[in-house]
């Protein structure tokens, strides 16, 4: 019987099986940010175990609230900063160099096919786009990861998601993943790996694959995963060129992380996306999803473009395409947060920042910002936000606020009209 990619990664990293069904894995990357790590640091200090297992495998960033907004967040940042210095964690990113973790760490070339990755952040599943087993964990798992370089998981059952057909113009990875979550539900993949297949996945950029994998957790998934291919090689090439004779050689090597043709899946789900419309959420769960047409005309107060789901350069380009030469509606305020300094810089060079500013958007520094209502862009009671983020829980962006999740294109079109709008209507009129 063949194996899935997750099973192969588990086999290659198995340190211990203390009891049947409990797999303790060696971890290649322990990623840290300033919200969930300081408590781990404090606890390690309290236990007299202020050590790190390998300061080259630990990467850290201040991203959720940055620059610090008050004394409490300043303390969180300081705890992470002091700890990184104390243990000589070279890959630590502070103000001026910092960005949203799940955009920044891949961009720095830290993730490889076949890696095991943990972070105290549920959207760590994003890194599965590289063919890695990447899982969000709590602070205790993070603490043990920092101290010992291990983490425990159950044997991974995998659900294979076949995305069949051609993706229509104006419909994006975000629409696909919203649709899939709508179909399988917020509990549809709990404790499972979601393995994405299909020609449209193969045709997707790494940015789009990260969007797809980012929201696996919204269906309960431990990890979303795409099989590594030449697109993966091209993205990682600046970081791996000394390790391989050629891109083809790298691609061939990465193939060892492909699921076998006779691998056993718990479930195989086929979704035909040929007639898929842009998707938008309603209500307070990410599986409350409808085609944009059914929500068209819903008034919003704020537009938020950014986050670990859709703050990458491709996302900003898609939004800018709609916004170019247009103004956002007077009734709304627009906020855009390029996810990393490089994305910000590239967007500046491409004129995208100017387009956003001319349209009337506020451009913020790279940060998680409004997504979870911790930093800037918090909603007031009764306000509605059109957002490219990944979670629409009640009160997520501020108590009493309401969030509609959508693609950057839909968010941009919604900014222009002030009501939820199918971007394709604007794309057509622009053509």
């Amino acid at each position: 019987m063949g194996k899935t990619i997750a099973e192969k990664i588990f086999d290659a990293h198995l340190r211990d099986e203390p009891f049947a069904g409990a797999k303790v894995l060696d971890i290649d990357r322990v990623l840290c940010h300033e919200i969930t790590t300081p408590v781990a640091i404090a606890d390690l200090l309290w236990r007299g175990k202020d050590r790190v297992f390998d300061n080259t495998k630990i990467k850290a960033v201040i991203d959720h609230v940055t620059p610090s907004k008050d004394s409490k967040t300043a303390l969180q940042a300081k705890m992470l900063r002091d700890w990184a210095r104390r243990h000589q964690i070279k890959d630590f990113f502070d103000v001026g160099h910092n960005g949203v973790c799940h955009a920044l760490f891949p961009e720095k070339g830290y993730i490889r096919p076949g890696f095991t990755v943990i972070m105290g952040d549920s959207h760590t599943c994003t890194h599965g786009a590289f063919g890695a087993f990447a899982a969000g964990v709590g602070t205790t798992d993070l603490e043990v990861g920092i101290l010992k370089g291990v983490c425990a998981f159950r044997e991974p059952a995998t659900i294979r998601v076949n995305l069949v057909g051609d993706l229509p113009a104006g419909v994006y990875a975000k629409d696909v993943i919203l649709y899939v979550i709508g179909q399988i539900g917020v509990n549809g993949a709990t404790d499972r790996v979601l393995e994405f297949h299909g020609l449209i996945v193969e045709a997707m950029s790494m940015e789009a694959r990260m969007t797809l994998c980012n929201m696996a957790i919204e269906a309960g998934g431990t990890c979303g995963i795409c099989l590594p291919d030449m697109t993966t090689v091209d993205y990682l090439w600046p970081f791996i060129q000394n390790d391989y004779a050629s891109r083809e050689a790298a691609c061939e090597d990465f193939r060892k992380w492909h699921s076998d043709p006779d691998a056993s899946y718990e479930k195989v789900l086929d979704f035909n996306v040929s007639n898929l419309e842009p998707q938008v959420t309603y209500g307070f769960k990410p599986d409350c999803v409808k085609p944009v047409g059914e929500l068209a005309g819903t008034a919003v107060d704020q537009i938020y473009i950014g986050t670990c789901t859709n703050g990458r350069i491709e996302d900003l380009r898609q939004a800018a395409e709609i916004l170019k030469g247009r103004k956002i509606a007077e009734s709304v305020r627009g906020i855009v947060s390029p996810a990393t300094p490089k994305i910000f810089s590239d967007a500046l060079a491409e004129g995208i920042i100017q387009i956003f500013m001319d349209a009337g958007f506020c451009v913020t520094n790279p940060t998680c910002g409004a997504c979870l209502g911790m930093s800037n862009g918090v909603l007031a009671e009764g306000e509605v936000c059109a957002s490219t983020s990944n979670r629409n829980f009640n009160g997520r962006m501020g108590k009493g606020g309401m969030v509609h999740l959508m693609s950057p294109a839909t968010a941009a079109a919604t900014a222009v009209t002030g009501v939820i709008t199918d971007a394709r209507t604007l794309q057509k009129s622009a053509a």
Partner: protein, 176 residues
Amino acid sequence: MKKTFGGPAIFLDRSDINTDEIIPAKYLTEVTKEALQPYCLEDLKLEGFDPKGEALKSARVVVSRENFGCGSSREHAPWVFEVNEIHTIIAQSYARIFRQNMFNCGMLAIELPKAQLDRLFALQQAGDVEVNVDVEGQKVVARSGQGEEAFPFEISPFDKALVQAGGWVEFADARY
């Protein structure tokens, strides 16, 4: 530190109670568990439930439905229960990270099948429910005005070992 299990139960009759409802993100700026204490379930909107009420204050066990603790990886969610002396949750199922976080803290995330949960929920019709948890015997005993009922539960040897060790840090540090 080993936990104590059992006591008065509070019933949250809803599925998919998420981590934002358990502890809103604005409190994630705290760097101690104790500071979270007043904010337990603050954003949960549920008929008859008052996050500031006496029922939650005196509760030592939470009983809920499917997919409890979905959403964020924040361990602040189990911690806010921990510092309110709620060391046991009983539900039909859990989000993976929340469930793991509970055992990693040496606490209990007990799973019961729907039919048994229905009976547990029915018990509260006759008044307050007191739950006793026998971890070794893998049994929950619930008592109310209607009498007493026992519910056996499954727990993996690994999860049990974490509870007995007082959590994952102790277990891992002793072994790796």
